[in-house]
């Protein structure tokens, strides 16, 4: 039992580290991006169709590239930022790049769910665009955003495991190196079980938080 723990714990921690850092930066970049996608629409508070279209195209392009290709494709960029192209740190860069556009779309659809009448009421009270974003759009979509973040975390977890294939660390790497290259199926099964448990915990925690926030 002990050797199992010794084998799995470092990889699990690496995975959690990758996921945490990537999700942190994804939210940091994706949230404003998603907000801009909504408010620059023709019928919203700061219409700017030029900016809206450019952002939309960029997001679509990034999302069209399969993650494993993207990782290889941006290796020079990754080296420029973190100084290496292998290991846990190196995976974080493509992870952020791949999930930020995804999360931006998630934010966009959450905010679009808000009844326009509520925004209009705020406009009629003389709210500034910043006030509308901070005091109406974000609080009103918070429950839906939490669910979106949950989906994003699980997505990042999946991608991070994929990164094991090209030398990223974490549970994915463990599963591939032991289970695939060394034919130790039991290690692979153990990592898969661990991933299943992780996903369950993340999803149910997300659901719970969203439920508490939701006042509808």
């Amino acid at each position: 039992m002990n050797e199992w723990i010794e084998l799995l714990t470092p990889s699990l921690l690496e995975t959690l580290y990758m996921v945490f850092v990537s999700v942190f930066f994804t939210i940091l970049l994706g949230l404003p991006l998603g907000i801009i996608l909504v408010i620059t629409r023709e019928d919203h508070i700061l219409p700017n169709s030029w900016l809206n279209q450019i952002l939309s195209y960029m997001i679509n392009i990034t999302r069209s590239i399969p993650f494993i290709i993207l990782m290889i494709f941006i290796m020079p960029f990754t080296r420029l930022i973190v100084g290496t192209t292998i290991g846990t740190k190196a995976v974080i860069v493509p992870l952020i790049l791949a999930t930020t556009p995804f999360f931006a779309r998630v934010v966009e659809s959450s905010i679009k769910e808000i009844d326009w009448g509520v925004v209009e009421a705020a406009i009629s009270m003389g709210a500034t665009p910043i006030q509308i974003i901070l005091k109406v759009l974000l609080p009103e979509s918070m429950s839906s955003l939490v669910l979106g973040i949950t989906i994003t975390i699980i997505n990042v977890l999946g991608y991070s495991a994929m990164a094991g294939a090209i030398g990223g660390g974490g549970l994915g790497y463990l599963a591939i190196s032991y289970g695939y290259h060394r034919y130790q199926t039991n290690v692979m099964i153990a990592t898969v079980i661990l991933l299943i448990v992780l996903v369950q915990i993340i999803q149910s925690t997300g659901n719970k938080i969203a439920q508490i926030i939701n006042k509808k």
């Binding site: 009421a121 003389g126 609080p139």
Partner: protein, 330 residues
Amino acid sequence: MIHIKNLSKVYTKGRNEVVALKDINLEIKKGDIYGIIGLSGAGKSSLIRCINRLEEPTSGDVLVNKINLIHLKNKELRKARKKIGMIFQNFNLLHSKTVFENIAFPLKLVNTPEKIIKEKVNHLLELVELSDKAYVYPSQLSGGQKQRVGIARALANEPDVLLCDEATSALDPKTTKQILNLLKNINDRLNLTIVIITHEMEVIKEVCNRVAILEGGNIAEEGSTVDIFSKPQNPITKHFINQDENLPKSFIKGKVLHLSFTQGSATQPLISQITRDFDIDVNILSGKIEYIQNQAIGKLTIQMDVDCHRLLDIIKYFEKNYVKVEVIKQ
């Protein structure tokens, strides 16, 4: 208080142009409860939304409290909007905030100190009789209660004008009456000018002292509610007052007149006088009393067999006695 001059609104979608408002002129005085009634598509919603520029008018001027809103830049417009409260058909409350926080919302926008917010909100909660619901979320309220929150929120910045965009259309008749009484009460107490748009004549009858009837982007008729009710001029007005629809076709023979008795004329037994003086038989087809802001208007539809000359004499007789006459069939 509100002065609308040559206001037009045209919606353009691709090559299609839809004219919603054509050259509207209106004057709403301080303390008025001004009703704007029309069928759906008449442009009433566009009109009220042009008043605080939720919709941008295509041309014309809107003056509120002598300030021409059309010329204002963003920042000044936001400032002006704080003095124009608005309530909506769907209430448009923030679901994520409690009743207290919803009412405090406009005050927070201008960074009011917490202590003053607390004072003001509690006062407003009392005004709309919702003190016991302060920390409840909107989803737990009934429609009428939600609209009360909407009203309290609209009053938080002590506006000069309150715009009501179909504010009672989602409510049942009893709740509608309660909300209208509240609006009337506020109008009395704060001398607040209120503009109501609606498609229900009941709303106008209940609270409005003046009314404009909107049809196809034009004002078909405008005046004091009592006048409009006792002598509607326009077909669309009659439609709203619903006086020409009640009679079965088979009853409309001979000469049919529609009479409106206001205070000056209700005290005399006029019908029995004309039967005697003109030696005719009068058949009463329908009759009712309507109350317009507690003022009674008697409505009577009568039928008789007389020739045109006698008819004219009878009409003159009625009008001499302050009864408004309308000939339904001659």
